[in-house]
């Protein structure tokens, strides 16, 4: 007995909002309302690209109270595994896709006296929905948004217009302006929370600086979706199902399973939520853990693997599936 809560949607609008960034608006094919969500939530977008089924997580950026449609923004990445290239180049208005229910692994802490958000590039998207919700809830917040150039940065003008320049600050690489993290964090009232979303280097830099300034980890939040890193091909043996499946160099274990009709549980597909944790029976090779979820002990034990982003270097791994 399961509930299928996936939503069939139609692409209602595609808009180029900055260099290499497009916004996609989805509305339900059956005309039903979309569920309300919480700022910071993402959905898994399932795309049928020729023979391949791609499922990628994207943060929702529309107003959480907009039940007519959901919006995401996607950066066209070089060396795309296929998701961003498909969305940018093949998807047309009127096409149909499937969305998961919203899942939030980056929720704001409602106890906070104040919220400080730091975004790098396309990392802005979850904050757009968060600010909409914070504004509605009357919470104190400010956004510090780093962009490469003014034309690469999406939404900064709209955000400054809506929330004011005192709450939305833009820093442009090209103009040699960077987020002055230490200054921003210096005099914040007790009970302030910090949220970071952007490239890994930025997240690590900002969080490291905050720790150096004595911010406790309970007040620090970040989100980074990992794309499954490629590697060499290997085989997965399913101990219970007694099957062997090939994993291609640009495929994750989860994707290989799905391509062969094996359904495994997942939520974020980005190594963060823990839903796809799978037991390792044996490994002919070396586990390559790429997730943010498992504790170092678990990684060292060789008994568990997050199949959405981790793989092996070697011949074959036998999983408890």
């Amino acid at each position: 007995m399961t509930i299928n809560t996936e939503m069939k949607v139609r692409v209602a609008q595609i808009a180029q909002v900055a260099d290499k960034v497009k916004r996609f608006r989805f509305e339900r094919a059956d005309g039903q309302p979309m569920p309300v969500f919480s700022g910071g939530a993402h959905v898994i977008v399932s795309m049928r690209d020729g023979k391949a089924l791609r499922r990628n997580p994207y943060s929702l950026m529309s107003s959480p109270e907009d039940t007519v449609g959901y919006e995401i923004s996607v950066l066209r990445v070089e060396n795309s595994r296929g998701g961003s290239a498909f969305l940018h180049e093949k998807l047309k208005e009127g096409d149909e896709l499937v969305l998961s229910q919203p899942v939030n692994l980056f929720a704001h802490d409602h106890r906070a006296k104040k919220h400080i958000m730091m975004a790098g590039g396309i990392g802005i998207t979850p904050f757009i929905a968060m600010m909409d919700q914070m504004e509605r809830e009357g919470a104190a917040f400010e956004l510090h948004y780093a962009v490469r150039t003014r034309t690469h940065g999406a939404y900064w003008k709209e955000l400054q217009q809506r929330y004011g320049k005192h709450r939305v600050k833009i820093y442009c690489d090209e103009e040699k302006l960077f987020i002055p993290v230490a200054d921003v964090l210096a005099n914040q009232p007790l009970g302030t929370h910090l949220y970071v979303c952007g490239p890994a280097g930025m997240i690590n830099g900002v969080l490291g600086k905050a720790r150096e300034l004595g911010w406790p980890k309970q007040n620090l939040h970040s989100e980074e979706f990992l794309a499954p890193p490629p590697g060499k091909a290997f085989q997965v043996r399913l101990a219970r199902a007694n099957r062997t499946i090939d994993v291609a160099p640009h495929q994750s274990i989860l994707e290989a399973l799905e391509a062969n009709g094996v359904e495994a549980p997942y939520l974020c597909r980005g190594g963060a939520c823990g839903q796809c944790e799978t037991g390792v029976v044996s490994c002919d090779g070396e586990l390559e853990h790429n997730d943010h979820f498992l504790e170092p002990d678990d990684k060292a034990s060789g008994k568990k693997i997050m199949i959405c982003v981790s793989r092996i270097k070697g011949n074959a791994v036998t999983l408890d599936l």
Binding site: M1, P35, S38, G40, V103, A107, D109, H110
Partner: protein, 347 residues
């Protein structure tokens, strides 16, 4: 479905009883002849024979009006049974929406919800309530949204906030509880709150349940059943009033078991809330007298065996020590020794 709401009491003269239909819809918590803790969660989808408590996502039954009256009495004596920490306001609105939408959709004869943007119109006919308010604006309701709606919905309600890979019990309406205090437990995390439960921590029940719940999804509620026993049909078996209801446990005799001893089942449903990302625990209490329970031969047989073979730690924790032997002896008369069929529904 048109319900016949009963005029009955859960205190003083204890006039509560179940109609024959109400007996057959009881969510009997044992699917086999023995009991031990387990995570035992399943998707909360409509199930069971027609009329069963599992038919609707939020169940309303013939005891609705009387239970709401009892809740109001409890709150008058002790307003601390409703508490919400200040950061839970978004979750309060989420809960109000969920309960109003479900009650109106499943019982249109009794409840109506009309939405015009954020202007909402709520009608609760059994209680004679007609309220126009602004969703999101607490000053348009006579009390906080969670208190307002949970005075009009059966069951206890606890909202847990999700932070740092833990769940925190940060708001609730708790007047029909099996011996736990919201005032004491509010603010605790999932493990702390269940701290006094014996055996379950050691076998990892709470670790597994927590892991499961942290990834609970919107639109996919789950349910589980829990149980204990109560002497007299008393909803408010709070620790606050234990010195008042505790003496009842010493009043069970072979003559009064059938009427006095009740199986108390908790149908727990868990829902991911949309705006707050919190989780709503609905803990709905159902009472059934032993003499009502034994009208279903399968249940009589099975409950006799469960109670007879219960581990001593659970007998103690559930407070059954004083009256279990008398009850087991009474139930033995209804156990014909036949094997009992699988599942929880009546034959």
């Amino acid at each position: 479905m048109n319900l016949n709401f009963k005029n009955e009491s859960f205190r003083d003269d204890y006039t509560f009883k179940n109609s024959p239909e109400s007996i057959r819809r009881f969510p009997f918590p044992f699917n086999e002849d023995k009991y031990m803790y387990s995570v035992n969660m399943e998707p909360h989808v409509p199930a069971g024979p027609a009329g069963h408590a599992y038919n609707n996502a939020i169940d309303v039954d013939e005891h609705f009006v009387a239970e709401m009256r009892d809740r109001a009495l409890v709150l008058k004596e002790d307003p601390l049974r409703y508490l919400a920490l200040p950061h839970m306001m978004a979750a309060q609105w989420d809960t109000l929406e969920l309960l109003m939408e479900n009650q109106a959709a499943s019982y249109p004869e009794h409840f109506t919800l009309e939405k015009n943007g954020d202007q909402w119109h709520w009608i609760n006919r059994p209680m004679g309530i007609d309220q126009i308010f602004t969703f999101g604006d607490a000053s348009t309701l006579p009390m906080e949204p969670l208190e307002y709606i949970t005075r009009q919905a059966q069951g206890d309600f606890v909202i847990v906030d999700q932070r740092d890979g833990q769940l925190w019990c940060d708001a609730g309406m708790v007047t029909t509880q099996a011996d736990w205090s919201l005032d004491f437990d509010i603010g605790m995390n999932f493990h702390e709150w269940h701290g006094p439960v014996p055996l379950a921590h050691e076998i990892g029940v709470f670790d597994r349940a927590l892991k499961f719940l942290l990834n609970l999804q919107q639109g996919k509620p789950v349910r589980r059943l829990n149980w204990t026993m109560t002497i007299n049909p008393r909803l408010d078996t709070s620790p606050e009033n234990y010195h008042k209801w505790g003496p009842d446990r010493a009043t069970v005799t072979p003559e009064n078991v059938g009427n006095k001893v009740h199986l108390r089942c908790e149908l727990q449903t868990l829902w991911r809330l949309p705006r707050s990302n919190a989780i709503l625990f609905v803990v709905r209490c159902y009472l059934i007298k032993m003499e009502e329970l034994v009208t279903v031969p399968k249940w009589a047989r099975r409950f006799h065996r469960v109670l007879r073979d219960l581990p001593p730690e659970l007998v103690d924790y559930k407070g059954l020590t004083r009256y279990r032997p008398t009850t087991v002896e009474w139930l033995a008369k209804f156990d014909d020794g036949q094997p009992s069929t699988p599942g929880i529904y009546p034959e």
